[in-house]
Symmetry: C2
């Protein structure tokens, strides 16, 4: 029999995946996924964009492209990122096969087996998986409503081996739903300054804001003064066009970019030219910005339907907060409650969510849960939330 | 400053890449690339296929899919592989982001840093890169006109630490151009039987045969009796539809499949749904088979133009053989000649190819070179080959 590598031998299927197969049953109301709503995809617009391309552009969609990405998309994306205030000088963009690949490349660029990396708690499950696949030991720092806890971070930096990087998702966090405060972002930069620990800033959801007055809070840390801190900024077309395109990006200081590009070369040679051509056309035509405005408003309605329902049905002892963008609401049950038992009851009643322990790198905290509203109509939300509330009452009542 | 991982610190840009940037200059006649011809891509057909899809199918093109691939494509591809005689029982298909990703996943499933793997000599550069990125030490076994040298393989198996796998490209080899003989394939299976060393069989070019009477020789080893040998069979849509779709596959025994699927999950979540939907429609409609027949005939014409020109212009002391399919012709110069010097002269004269040492895992053999005819019209070939012949004469004459 073949002998697997040590890292492959250690791999196990995740609880969230086994759940997702359940969540795809047609009758169940699922608040579990992080998938954009099928009915919102800009199908006709993209079809029209493709029709409008020149023969040369269409042919390039079928061909290999440079590992770093198609030149025209690199240019249009750079322009879009510049408008967000991101610093391009001394940095380069790498188009990746979803932002999941950006996390994978960064993990392989930095992590040797046994190395420590820091994340938030809770943390995006795809990041935990990418870091662990490279052999990282993940240590997590708690979040509060304003962002990562600076005191705990300082403590973690002061003890044990030096972490290879810190990974954060400051904008409509998956799963915690929060938006970092401006002051907290500056404190975070100050804390890392001169430490030699790069910051990975994941901005997969930032475009999905519900309140234009939040724009200032959405300015990336990479766009703030950050002398003495190397920042790798990642983003994705998944939420602003469609995850089926499998396109994301990494904006990184040149030396880090160079390593990631070489690792990508032997990973999948290049990202799909076919969808790069479409994404480029979607940016240049203005179609994408129009689409983003449409889905902002749609997701705001869905979020409001869910918060209305939560207010009416949830027992008072459950803590949660109003989302200001993105896909998720994070619920905290009383200390000692077990969200896994709530999930069992909820599934019996015909609805599903993800337990918070799934997003806990240490896997010990049991009393939290993530609800997503992105893939449900207000009507489904109206029907599903009372079932969730009832399941909570049965377990914590 | 950030500290890179050991494997990332060791990464260097490859010579072939630096060459490729040169090869994209408009005036140069390039026999260097392995890219299908732009003018042959089935642009109109694929556009029509997309138009003909149902709204549900179009929407699924924008959405995340399962890590293993879209169910409908897994089904249509399985049917196509079954027709080639491949054994599906006890095996599963994983859709990958190009077959480059299949090699990357297999490397990470099997290789710990310092482990030995076996390849042919010469060997596909993308495979060498994927194996090395996982930390493998690559040992190569020479090829002759019928395939891998069995005696040297047996010797390599008998000495030193047990290799993690053997990687071969038996069908229109990149870069050697050869097609394995039937007997050699059976001998290879016999040699590996019971050794516990899995075989990776790369069939990226098998569909591009020029002579229907070769069909029997094209039967994959995975389709022959191979009790006691685990075979991982990889393939690609790159040559039969377009590399810009970034779709390939791995057909592997279930345990190996399981590891690769988990590694893929944290690598890029899933391959592009957008192009999976198109590939599925191209198979089901019969469009792809029609396209394959068209390009077979076109590449046969290009190959003939090149062999005619080589016969007329090359000095007698250069060895090469008639291609029976695929993209490449492999030239062997006299012992002691340096193909790198030939390349310099050729570039001065306005044409480019790849030196054989690029494909030599040990990097020591200097007197071979690869010409590709896939991306040139017969007219370009007529103009370019005399320049190559002249460069050879200047260096070896």
């Amino acid at each position: 029999m073949a002998t697997f590598s040590r890292s492959a031998s250690a791999l196990r299927s995740s609880a969230i995946r086994d759940l997702m197969s359940l969540a795809s049953q047609p009758d169940i109301i699922s608040f579990a996924g992080g998938m954009p709503a099928n009915e919102l995809f800009p199908v006709e617009e993209v079809e029209e964009l493709f029709r409008g391309l020149s023969d040369r552009e269409k042919r390039s969609a079928f061909q290999y492209g440079p590992t770093q990405g198609l030149p025209s998309l690199l240019e249009s994306l750079a322009e879009r990122l510049r408008r967000k205030g991101l610093q391009m000088e001394g940095n380069r963009i790498l188009i990746t096969t979803g932002s999941q690949q950006a996390l994978n490349l960064l993990a392989r660029a930095f992590v040797d087996p046994g190395d420590r990396v820091l994340t938030e708690r809770p943390c995006f499950i795809g990041a935990i998986a990418a870091f662990r696949a490279a052999g990282a030991e993940v240590r997590s720092i708690p979040l509060d409503a304003e962002g990562i806890d600076i005191e705990t971070l300082e403590k973690a930096l002061g003890e044990g081996p030096k972490p290879k990087f810190l990974y954060v998702t400051p904008y409509f966090h998956n799963p915690a739903g929060i938006l970092y405060g401006e002051r907290r972002k500056r404190e975070l930069i100050d804390t890392l300054r001169g430490s030699g620990i790069p910051l990975i800033e994941d901005d997969a959801y930032g475009d999905l804001f519900f309140h234009p007055e939040d724009r200032d809070r959405l300015i990336p840390m990479q766009a703030l003064p950050h002398d003495g801190v190397e920042i790798c900024y990642t983003g994705s077309f998944s939420k602003i066009l469609g995850p089926g395109l499998r396109l994301g990006w990494l904006l990184a200081p040149e030396a880090i970019y160079g390593k990631c590009e070489l690792i990508k070369q032997s990973s999948d040679a290049c990202s799909p030219s076919f969808t790069q051509v479409l994404a480029d056309a979607a940016i240049r035509s203005g179609m994408m910005e129009g689409y983003v405005e449409r889905v902002q408003s749609e997701y705001r309605d869905r979020a409001r339907a869910m918060t209305d329902a939560l207010r009416r049905h949830l027992p008072d002892y459950v803590e949660w907060s109003e989302p200001r963008g993105g896909f998720y609401i994070w619920l905290t049950l009383p200390e000692g409650a077990d969200a896994a038992r709530v999930l069992e009851k909820a599934i019996e009643a015909g609805t599903v969510f993800v337990t918070g322990s799934t997003f806990d790198p240490e896997g010990v905290r049991r009393n939290t849960m993530r609800l997503s509203y992105c893939n449900n109509t207000p009507e489904e939300i109206e029907r599903g939330i009372p079932l969730i509330a009832e399941a909570i009452r049965e377990c914590c009542g």
